[in-house]
Each structure stands twice: as C-alpha cells, then as structure tokens.
Subunit: 360 residues, 2 copies
C-alpha cells in the first residue's frame, strides 16, 4: 500500500487512518484526587502498587496499563506484533522490567517526557506500512522514581521552587491498528468508539532536539517550551494548516511557566495559540489545592491525560481534530551535575475523529 505522504522536512500524513482501538490509564492516589479523577481506568491507592521498591512499582503500573489496553481491545499479548515503550529511568528499567515481561517483540525508546508521542509516531509508521495488525504503545512515570533519578531523596524534604513541576505517577497504553474497532464482535471488550465513530492518528511531526541553553532542572517547562514551539510551528508549515484547523493543541507538561513561554515564542512567529492551547500538566492536578506548583510532568502525564481525557473527547466527536505534542527535557543527573544545559524535544501527533461513514 502507498501508506502516507512525506510533508516538509519532518512530517508524515498517513493516507489511511491509523486507528487507536483501545487505551487504558493507571494512576496513583494523588492523580486520582485531581480534576480527572473520574476519567482514569484504574486509580491505585497504594503508590507502591503492591511492590517493595519504587522502580518495581512503576514497572507494575506500566504492565497493568498494557494488560488493560490489550484486554479492552479483546486481545491477548500473543496478538500484539510489537511494543514501543519507554520511560524516564536510567536504562528505561521501568519498561524492561515491566511491559517487556509480557513477551512481545520490544522496541525500547527514550524520549524523556515526550515518549508517548515518540511511541505513537513509530507505532503509526509501522501500522501504516502494514507491519502489524495490533501494535502496543506505552509509557509511564512515577513521582518517587523520578525524584530519586533526577533530583533529591524524598526524605531530604527539599523545598521546590514555583517553577518546579510534579512528576505524575501514571501510565497509559494504546493499541494501534489499521482497522477501526468493531466492538459488537468481541464479547467483554471495551473498544475506543462511540455511536458516531472512532479515533485515529492521521499524521505526525517528529521533533528535533532544541537547546536554548537553559540549565535549571527545576524549570523543565522553560527548557521544553522552545522545542514545543519548534514542533508546532513546523507542523503548521508542513501540513499547510493553522490554529483554526484544530479544536485543541495539547502539550505534554509545560506547566504554568512553560505554557506562557510557548505562547510568547509562537506569538513572535505570528501564531496565537492561546484559544486552543491546553497543557496536560495543567489538566491533571489542581495546582492550588494539590500544591503542585507549575503543574504535572513526566511521561505518564501526557500519556494518562491522553487516555483519560483527550481520546474520549475525540471519539465522542466533541473534538474533531487535535494536535497532541508531548514534550521532553533531555538531561540526566550526570549531565546536569556537569553543568550542561537542558535541551528539549517535542513530538507532534495528529489525532482525529473518524465518523463511522468514513471508517475503513
């Protein structure tokens, strides 16, 4: 099949939609106490997820999201062709001890907090090329593993500046397929469709690493906003579209500080994104009540908001077309301690409502 068209320098428009057949989100207690509490598939009251170590907790959570998404599509792990997954931890151990255990051929990714955008992009490329009838895309983050990995021991009680974000304890997984889901055929399934239609990925714009020279690991929004700006700007150029072509443009985890920088940077390019922009990091917590400062962050932030909030709105037809732009900050504690800057990356994914009349 001629499966898509290359646009500009970094975009692909898929000639046939890549359907998201099912999705699942699993979060911790703090996320389950936030504004989206009624939207998640599973809220675990125990932030250890029944395990004895934080890393094992994150692995368990990611595995649970994957198994849920597979089950909701009426499938077994044996039906899944490839997994595209990653996380924030060194050597992506949350994924290699979690989802990888499910025994599916595995492509490990590292895109910092943009990982859900990277996994959906690569999953969509594989599906559109005819290389998989069902492909699993997943990611996760956990507040305690991320603090341990990047910042200070929790017991140290470090004071957090107002620009700091709170890493989401959450995971989500999606099943991609060249076919729209037909729920009536599968007993017990819970597929992603409404009476009006389904939801699909119709294009991607792949991010570049953009380094503005920021060096503050407690202001990740500022570090990532230039990358989000670059990807969104190139997306509009490559697709010949404007703000008016989207019901929403959702960045991953810029938070209060990063959102303002993004809007300012785009204004310099004569793009006013304010009317359609939302940030997953500002949707998942009530910053005032939950003491989360600039907002939520982490791979699990964009991913769980996608599964819990964005996809349901698109499948219902409330939104016809959105641009999902998870944002990642490229640093490690080694690079940070060596005084290196914190570059950003953002991957754009076009998600559209497919009315049942036009479904394949």
């Amino acid at each position: 099949m001629n499966s898509g068209t290359m646009l500009g320098k970094a975009s692909i428009s898929f000639s046939r939609p890549v359907y998201i057949q099912s999705c699942a989100s699993v979060v911790g207690p703090k996320e389950g106490d936030g504004p989206l509490k009624n939207c998640f598939d599973m809220i675990c009251d125990d932030p250890m997820f029944g395990e004895k170590k934080w890393e094992a907790a994150e692995s368990a959570m990611q595995k649970e999201a994957a198994v849920l998404a597979i089950g909701k599509a009426g499938l077994t792990p044996d039906d899944i062709r490839f997994v595209f997954a990653g996380d924030l931890l060194a050597q992506t151990i949350a994924s290699s001890f979690g989802i990888a255990e499910v025994g599916i051929p595995f492509f490990g990714l590292y895109g910092a907090c943009s990982t859900m955008g990277e996994s959906l992009s690569l999953g969509a490329i594989a599906v559109s090329a005819g290389y998989g009838h069902h492909i699993l895309c997943a990611t996760s983050s956990h507040f305690a593993t991320a603090e341990k990995e990047f910042r200070f021991p929790l017991g140290y009680g470090c004071q957090r500046p107002l620009s700091a974000t709170w890493t989401v304890t959450g995971s989500a997984a999606c099943i991609l397929s060249p076919e729209a889901p037909h729920p009536s055929e599968i007993v017990g399934s819970s597929l992603l469709r409404s009476t009006l239609g389904s939801v699909a990925i119709t294009g991607i714009t792949t991010g570049k690493v953009i380094d503005f020279g920021f060096r503050d690991s407690l202001n990740m929004g500022g570090c990532m906003a230039p990358a989000a700006c670059d990807t969104i700007y190139r997306h509009f150029e490559d697709f010949g579209r404007s703000v008016n072509d989207y019901d929403a443009v959702l960045t991953g985890d810029l938070g209060v500080v990063g959102r303002q920088i993004l809007l300012d940077l785009l204004k310099e390019k004569n793009i006013d994104l304010s009317s359609v922009h939302q940030d997953c990091g500002l949707l998942i917590y009530d910053n005032q009540k939950q003491d989360t400062h600039s907002g939520g962050s982490g791979c699990g932030c964009a991913a769980s908001v996608l599964a819990a909030y964005i996809l349901p709105r698109v499948v219902s037809g409330f939104w016809k077309r959105v641009l999902f732009v998870p944002t990642g900050a490229m640093l490690s504690k080694v690079s940070f301690n060596e005084g290196e800057s914190v570059a950003g990356i953002a991957h754009g994914v076009v998600i559209e409502h497919i009315s049942k009349e036009t479904e394949v």
Copy 2:
C-alpha cells in the same frame, strides 16, 4: 508500495532491499590497536576526543561518526529525514548531546548493546514504508562512561573476573535509503559499493526481553546469550531458513563465555551454529594481548565491527548473506543494586549482497 511481508510473530521480509548507502566508524586508541585497526574510518589517539568530560567525549565521537557517514554519502544533515540513535548512558545523553545537535528529526532509542540492531530495524521499516529517502542509524559506547555508569570508578582499580567484557570506545553510523548508491554521480563521496554491487537490509527479526535469572553484571555474555538464542531460533523459523542459508551469523558482544552458552543453547534446539558464528566482541580485540578477558562489549562494539568489518565483506561479495544480531543486557545500577536479574534482548537484521544486475 507494498513494502514487505510479515513473517511469523516478529519478523519482516522487505520486498525491496533497504540499501546501506554509506557507513562510518570512529574508535578510541585501544580499538585502534586491535585486530581491526586497518578497518576503521577514524582512530582517535585521545580517548577524551578533545573534550573535558567522558560523556562529552562519547557525544563528540558519535557526532563525528554521523557526520562522516553523511559526508561519505555525499549528503548534508539537511538531506537526512530521521535519525534513529541511542547509547548506554542514563537518559541516552551521549546521543542527545551528540548526534541530536546535528538538527535532524530525532527518535531516541534504548536497546542496551543491541541498539544498532534496533536502529537499523526501525530505519529499515521507515525506508521500506516510503518515509525517508535518507535515514541515519547510529550508536556509541565509551569504556570510561560505561564503567562510571554501570560499575566502579576507574581510579578504584577494581579487579575484573575473566567473564567480564571490555566496553568498546567506538561509534558507527549508517545511511539507509530505498536506492542503491551510485558513486560516480557524487564528487568526493565514498559510498558503500563495489564493482560487483551493493549491500542492503532485506529482513528483520525483532527481539523479546528474555530473562534467565542471571544476576551477574560482570558476566553480560551469560545474561545475553539466551536472548540471542531466542532471536536466532525464531529468525530461522520465521524465514524458513537454516544455518546453511547464511555465510555468517554475527552476535554483538557475547564474548568467550556468552558464545559458548549460545552454541550450547542452540544445540539443544538441534541447531549447530558453530561453523558460521562469529561474535563482534571477539573480533575487535586480541583478548590475550589486550587483556580484555571475555571480549569487547557495548553498543559501539557491534556497531563499529559492522561498519569496519561486516559491511565491507558483504559489499565485496565475499559474504552473500549474513545475520547481524546485536545483543543487549537490560540493567541499570539501580536495578542491579536492588538485586534484580539481568535480562537480555537481541535484534536480528538480515544483511545481503545485492549484485549490480539486481539493484533497483
């Protein structure tokens, strides 16, 4: 285009070859003193590669390999559609501070030492689907960054058991394309072709994470051999081929210890690989003279041996078809210190000589 066929549960046979138009290898002084010393594109006498920090040294080396491969193909970074790259360090900082700086849309990978197999697999998928006329696949490792990341400070002078491998200071990059290279057209290029033809990827078998319960981070060969066995076995099953269909099966970095385990495991499945098996970790050093114990390892081991030794043998027609199987050990210092086992993964890539009569 109908770009390939899914075989079995984890393999793809590409209907049109994905050509490797150019490749480049850059290594450190120890590798430049080994048996392949006349095969590398660049041997840097300074293991710091002109930088002040080990991580920056690895980034500089990876960037150099990428720029060399791009130049050998007669291209500029602007001609490259996507980069698929990763490394061993936490949050893959060698790649995000190295190759990512080149300003090409970037997919970050983590496959431990199997990363070259993962990047070639995903690059080949993208090229075969028509999503890029030139795609860059790269990886690197550095002895000093890896020891710091996974084991002991160098100054500590830790004694190494005989099962330990020596992480290769090396990087390599390849340019993939749907078209065979035509060197006469490009002045100053150094494309990967001979008077007889060229070299291409014709199939892949994607690895699963295989955990045999090994817990010894100083016996990585033992940890990875079961994954190599699984991928090679499934590859023969999926493609309906046997040992006789390959001139060589080259694993990434099993070393002396892992190689024997692999041969034993395959023998239990009635496959005698001994006549065609080679291991990149046993090719890059003279273990006796260079005190490298079980052999070489690291992402840069399989990658630099691919560029320096394997691809030249295939392009010349000395080998008609080989299976390249980089092997990775999935661990971090956190998972290791928490007593977790070390699982393995291996990605198989079929590399064939394409005679000029059959080139596209």
